[in-house]
């Protein structure tokens, strides 16, 4: 294994090379970990929903707790109108959370530390929210770009600013998740490298840092999944309840 701290982000092919025209759609380690995390979500929540006993066992409790957690998050930020979108936000939150958490296992691959993955998720949300806004409000959704009470001279500038700030949503959403995951994992690898290079004498200090960083990274993994989901709710709220 290389000592390079960026080596962990390498994407390599598993199995045969598959080509669809010019596009390479081979199965990679990134796709493997996406499949693993989606399967884990499916298995855990299917097991949790199977028994439906009044006194829940551990796995049912887990499923119920996460259900009420996401449901409360949606009703707090986006109101009751966002209830139909619960399943989307729930699966989004669980997918990001499980990808982040599977990335914490040593020798595993963190899918969300690649900007293309997070940007794809974010642009799906962005396009979806825009489409929902136009369906709900028709062309009136464009009022989002025209705040009320602005003098007519400033209006062209304000509209341009609002459009840029609207377009920056998927960028900030994806960069936040990607940067957090990549920076954290790189830092852990760097400190791990210090432990090896300082040896048995001086390696204890970076080792203790590594332990602390692991705890911090688990917190960040949860927090970023939470922030990702809650911002989706906020954008959905803007699309559903137009108030300007």
């Amino acid at each position: 294994m290389a000592a390079n701290p960026m080596y962990q982000f390498n994407v390599y092919r598993i199995g045969p090379e598959i080509k669809l025209g010019e596009i390479d759609i081979s199965f990679t380690n990134a796709s493997l970990f996406m499949v693993i995390s989606s399967l884990a979500v499916l298995i855990i929540f299917n097991l949790g929903a199977k028994k439906k006993s009044l006194i829940p066992d551990k796995i049912q409790l887990l499923a119920e707790l996460s259900y009420s957690f996401v449901s409360k998050m949606i009703s707090d930020t986006a109101g009751s109108k966002a209830k139909p979108y619960f399943s989307f936000i729930f699966s989004l939150f669980m997918f990001v959370l499980f990808c982040n958490m599977f990335g914490m296992i040593p020798y595993s691959f963190t899918v969300t530390s690649h900007i293309i993955v997070t940007f794809t998720l974010a642009s799906f949300i962005f396009i979806g929210v825009t489409v929902i806004g136009f369906i709900k409000h028709g062309l009136g959704y464009l009022k989002l770009f025209v705040p009320s009470g602005v003098p007519i001279i400033l209006l062209p500038l304000i509209v341009v600013i609002e459009i840029i700030s609207y377009l920056s949503r998927p960028v900030s959403l994806s960069v936040r998740l990607f940067a957090n995951m990549m920076a954290g994992h790189t830092m852990m690898k760097v400190f791990g490298g210090f432990v090896i290079s300082l040896g048995i004498v001086g390696g204890w200090l970076p080792l203790s840092f590594s332990v602390a960083l692991t705890g911090l990274e688990i917190l960040v993994a949860f927090l970023q999944a939470y922030v990702f989901a809650i911002l989706t709710c906020i954008y959905l709220n803007d699309a559903l309840n137009l108030h300007h």
Partner: protein
């Protein structure tokens, strides 16, 4: 235990539960998230503005000007993003 005694104890317990609601540890852990949220919001608006300026410059052949203008418009949009999300947090 008499009923009155039970009622007062229930009242105390309810008050305790109510006052506990905004727990401190929750606030401190998510404030790190919001701090990061603010910074990316500022940066991403600048990036998007600059990219739009670059594309428009290539279209109209007005090489340095639109990218300069849109950079500053992006800065304004970023600051507005931060102000907006700060307002949203205070609600």
């Amino acid at each position: 235990m008499s009923e009155d005694q039970f009622k007062t104890r229930l009242k105390i317990a309810k008050n305790k539960a109510r006052s506990k609601k905004p727990s401190k540890s929750e606030g401190s852990s998510s404030s790190m998230g919001t701090a990061f949220k603010m910074s990316t919001e500022l940066v991403s608006a600048v990036v998007v503005g600059t990219i739009i300026g670059f594309i428009l410059d290539n279209w109209f052949g007005t090489k340095p000007w639109l990218i300069l203008i849109f950079f500053f418009v992006g800065v304004i949009a970023g600051i507005m993003n931060v102000v907006k999300s700060a307002k949203r947090m205070q609600k």
